[in-house]
């Protein structure tokens, strides 16, 4: 309990440092939000007026203190463009990203872990070699290539699924699934390669341990040995990679969201950066930082459940 409290409290300085660095970097990066906001037909005077109205002509430390003061009260400010609160915009976009991440992980884990175990079990066999080849392919082919190929085959050629868009799960489960299936498959190919590879390596190592030989000599079935003994003992590195994968998924689905037009956090981040929407960039960065810290905490806590020898 003390560990959890300590970890949660440790997020405060992390978030503060992240906020400070992001705030400073944004002000040092070329690009004036006011110039981007007013459009092509405006002149320097218009831009200067907008800078003043946004408070961008004030000294940077003053801007930071004002923003940080509000952020401490849970107010991350308002988007320069959309005139909506940053928290509202993040809340609006988190659903698609979480849905996509969850479905991707579901597909990935339900395939990668069995494949990894089988490859370790048949170490050096055709399945193992096929898995390794697939891993290289999965890592090497860019996501957008996989995405476009899947769209061409499944959506345009066979007309089985839609090309783009997103339907919230509370509106229609089938709509949600039909819109997210292809993007999730696209993304899962990369993670499948990663997690299957790590599973294979960890389980293969566990299978060389003495307790496996003991279990086999006791006549325990191979399935039970693989799942109950090998996988459980190989779980820590696998869970670590899954944790990293989830973190990467939440913040790194930009290309997939763009190809499939899913209105998630990835697209929101890119738009905010290209438009120099400072409050939005700051808010999203803080959110991502918090999400990473939380995921890491959950991964650390899962170690205790997976390996009784680990204590904090």
């Amino acid at each position: 309990m003390l560990f959890i409290l300590r970890r949660v409290l440790s997020t405060v300085p992390v978030l503060l440092i992240v906020a400070l660095i992001v705030f400073a970097m944004l002000r040092l990066t070329p690009g004036d939000p006011a110039a981007a906001l007013v459009g092509n037909n405006s002149n320097s005077e218009d831009i200067a007026r907008i800078r003043t109205s946004l408070g961008l002509d004030e000294p940077v430390p003053v801007q930071f203190v004002r923003w940080a003061g509000k952020a401490l009260q849970g107010d991350l400010g308002e988007s320069y463009y959309m005139k909506q609160s940053v928290t509202h915009l993040i809340a609006q976009r988190i659903g698609p990203t979480l849905s996509l991440s969850a479905l991707t992980m579901l597909i990935t884990l339900s395939i990668a872990i069995p494949l990894g175990i089988l490859a370790a079990w048949r170490h050096g066999g055709w399945l193992d070699r096929s898995l390794m080849s697939f891993s290289v392919l999965g890592f090497s082919v860019p996501t957008f290539v996989i995405g476009y190929l899947l769209i061409w085959a499944v959506a345009l050629h066979w007309k089985l699924l839609p090309v783009q868009g997103y339907t919230p799960i509370n509106e229609s489960f089938s709509g949600w699934l039909s819109h997210l299936f292809l993007p999730a498959v696209t993304l899962s190919i990369v993670y499948l390669a990663l997690i299957a590879r790590v599973t294979r390596a960890s389980v293969a190592e566990a299978l060389t341990e003495d307790y496996i030989r003991t279990a086999r000599s006791k006549g325990i079935s191979e399935l039970r040995i693989l799942v109950r003994h090998a996988l459980t003992n190989a779980a820590v590195p696998i869970v670590t990679v899954i944790g990293i994968g989830i973190g990467l998924l939440i913040g790194g689905v930009v290309v997939t969201e763009t190809v499939y037009a899913i209105p998630g956090l990835g697209q929101l981040t890119v738009d905010a950066v290209l438009g120099r929407d400072f409050p939005l960039i700051q808010g999203i960065t803080l959110f991502f930082s918090f999400a990473y810290v939380l995921i890491n905490l959950l991964v650390d806590l899962s170690y205790v459940l997976l390996d009784p020898r680990i204590r904090y």
Binding site: P30, G31, D32, A35, A36, L37, V38, G39, N40, N41, S42, N43, S44, E45, D46, I47, R49, I50, T52, S53, S79, Y81, M82, K83, Q92, R93, P114, L118, L127, Y148, I151, V154, A155, L156, K159, L160, L161, P162, V163, Q164, G165, Y166, T167, S172, S174, G175, L177, S178, F181, L223, V259, Y260, A261, P263, Q267, L268, D271, L274, G275, R276
Partner: protein
């Protein structure tokens, strides 16, 4: 075990796919029109920004006092009748009866005055009009009067201005919002109502038919005439990726793409289920030069840079297909009434030897000219590498600096020398509504630091603009427009790169009724 697992996986996936495949187009409805707009709609105040997508949103929700028909003629829209004094100083207007905003409140003269005043604080031409305006007063709830200090024959042009900041009418309480702040209430008297609870920038923007809208009896024509609505709901679906746009319309998931991405032309034109239309006049690309700092503060060096322009090479690189562009030397679009071929030395074809000679005469010191390169902006990012090569062939040293569009629009505000964070040249595009009238065209300024980026000082150009504004007939205006063009090239303010077509893609036989207009009009559309 392996076979068992594989077979189970295949069955499960197949089941899932077949199970929900039927939902692909389940949401489709003939009363919902899905449009892919040119960009994401992030700013809902069309007076606060000049972004085209915000302007188009304005045309959905708001109406104008006057519209411009398909022939380019100004026609009353919200106005019923008007009078003008022989000296063009006094103008009186009467609104159509029965006009009301979507919240049910009637449109009054007070709403009009507040709206026009706010517009005049933001718009380039509105600011010119405001300096001439002596009194702007309501006669009664339906009539108002404008009195100018000097003759102002372009009053109707101001009130019908189609682009930049179009002159939209809002309720007084909304229009009283300071011009440098965005409005927060989106009530208009136009053909549609914005469904605010479904407003999701980056995803979807929804409009419903405005039941309170009173269309004119005339047929729709340009931004004039009756703006009738034949669908229950219009959805702007935000698709940023060009390939995704093409896939979505080919699959019937969207009905109309406002601006076809040039690189999708070949694929889309061969699709028998789609129709490619040109509902708006051509737009243009221009090369803009910074006259505030060396070397283009010397008109001869500016002329030398303009002589390097090879319109065919530049336009082919950017627009990919010859069907989508035309070389055009006029500063106005070549299909517009003011276009002329009197451009002096500018031919749109490279004149490298003449340029080198001019550079020598002008004493160009060989310092690199900074060419801004918006690498992230697909609509413009093929031009700079070609232009850099052309300039080198003309004798310039070129420093092409890569950046994103936001950095470019910031950089161009800098008046510092090019080697100290400033700039010398960049290319951008303009819509037909920006260029149809020299008074509307922001780069056509000779008033130095008060003008558009580039800050040319050219009193003769300003005088010609004043003459154009005072001209009472079309013939007079056409003559002055030609002189303005010659003066533009003489001073080397900017150079035309070429005209391009805005192609709108619709599902053939499914979407009909697209109205030809200076701006994209989304009324009168039927989904069959």
């Amino acid at each position: 075990m392996v076979k068992w697992l594989i077979s189970r996986c295949v069955v499960a996936v197949s089941f899932a796919v077949i199970g929900f495949a039927g939902n692909c187009h389940a949401e489709d409805s003939s009363k919902v029109l899905r449009i892919v707009p040119q960009a994401d709609l992030k700013i809902l105040d069309p007076i606060w920004t000049t972004a085209f997508v915000s302007r188009n949103h304005g045309y959905m929700v708001y109406d104008q006092l006057f519209g411009i028909d398909a022939k380019g003629q100004i026609q009353p829209q919200m106005v019923d009748t008007y009078t003008k004094s022989p000296d063009f100083k006094e103008w009186t207007f009467t609104l159509r009866k029965g006009l009301s905003f979507s919240d049910g409140q009637p449109v009054t003269s007070e709403d009009v005055i507040a709206s026009v005043n706010r517009w005049a604080k933001r718009d380039v031409f509105g600011q010119v009009m405001a300096t001439q305006l002596d009194k702007f007063e309501a006669i009664d709830a339906n009539s108002f009067k404008m009195t100018f200090k000097t003759p102002f024959p372009m009053t109707l042009e101001a009130l019908s201005k189609p682009s930049g900041n179009a002159n939209f009418i809002m309720p007084k309480r909304v229009a009283m919002t300071p011009a440098d702040q965005q409005i927060t209430e989106y009530i208009g008297s136009g053909p549609y109502v914005l469904k605010m609870d479904e407003y999701k920038p980056g995803a979807k923007i929804v409009y419903l038919k405005n039941e309170k809208y009173v269309p004119r009896a005339e047929e729709p024509s340009g931004t004039a005439g009756g703006k009738r609505v034949f669908v229950d709901r219009v959805e702007w679906v935000i698709l940023k990726d060009a390939q995704t746009q093409a896939n979505a319309i080919a699959n019937g998931e969207v009905d109309l793409i406002e601006w076809m991405p040039a690189d999708q032309y070949a694929a889309l034109k061969d699709n028998p289920k789609l129709e490619l239309l040109k509902p708006t006049p051509a737009g243009s690309f221009d090369l803009h030069l910074n006259h505030f700092v060396p070397p283009f503060d010397n008109p001869k060096i500016a002329q030398a840079a303009i002589m390097a322009v090879n319109q065919e090479a530049l336009m082919r690189a950017q627009m990919v297909n010859k069907d989508l562009y035309r070389p055009c030397v006029s500063i106005y679009p070549c299909d517009s009434p003011l276009a002329s071929t009197d451009t002096g030395y500018f031919t749109g074809k490279p004149q490298f030897e003449a340029a080198k000679k001019l550079l020598k005469e002008a004493g160009y010191d060989g310092k690199p000219v900074v060419l801004l390169f918006p690498a992230d902006f697909a609509v413009l990012n093929k031009f700079p590498p070609v232009l850099a090569q052309l300039l080198k062939q003309a004798g310039f040293n070129v420093d092409m600096q890569s950046m994103d569009w936001s950095s470019l629009v910031t950089r161009r505000t800098s008046k510092e020398p090019a080697d100290k964070g400033g700039w010398n040249m960049f290319i951008t595009g303009w819509g037909p509504g920006d260029m149809m009238n020299p008074m509307f065209f922001p780069p056509l300024t000779g008033n130095g630091e008060k003008g558009w980026f580039g800050w040319t000082t050219d009193p003769k150009l300003e005088q010609l603009k004043a003459d154009f504004m005072a001209a009472a007939t079309d013939d007079q205006r056409k003559k002055i427009a030609k002189e303005l063009q010659l003066q533009t090239y003489q001073t080397g303010i900017f150079a035309k790169v070429g005209d391009f077509d805005y192609i709108t893609v619709v599902r053939k036989g499914v979407v009909t009724g697209l109205v030809p207009s200076t701006v994209n009009a989304f009324w009168n559309l039927k989904k069959n």
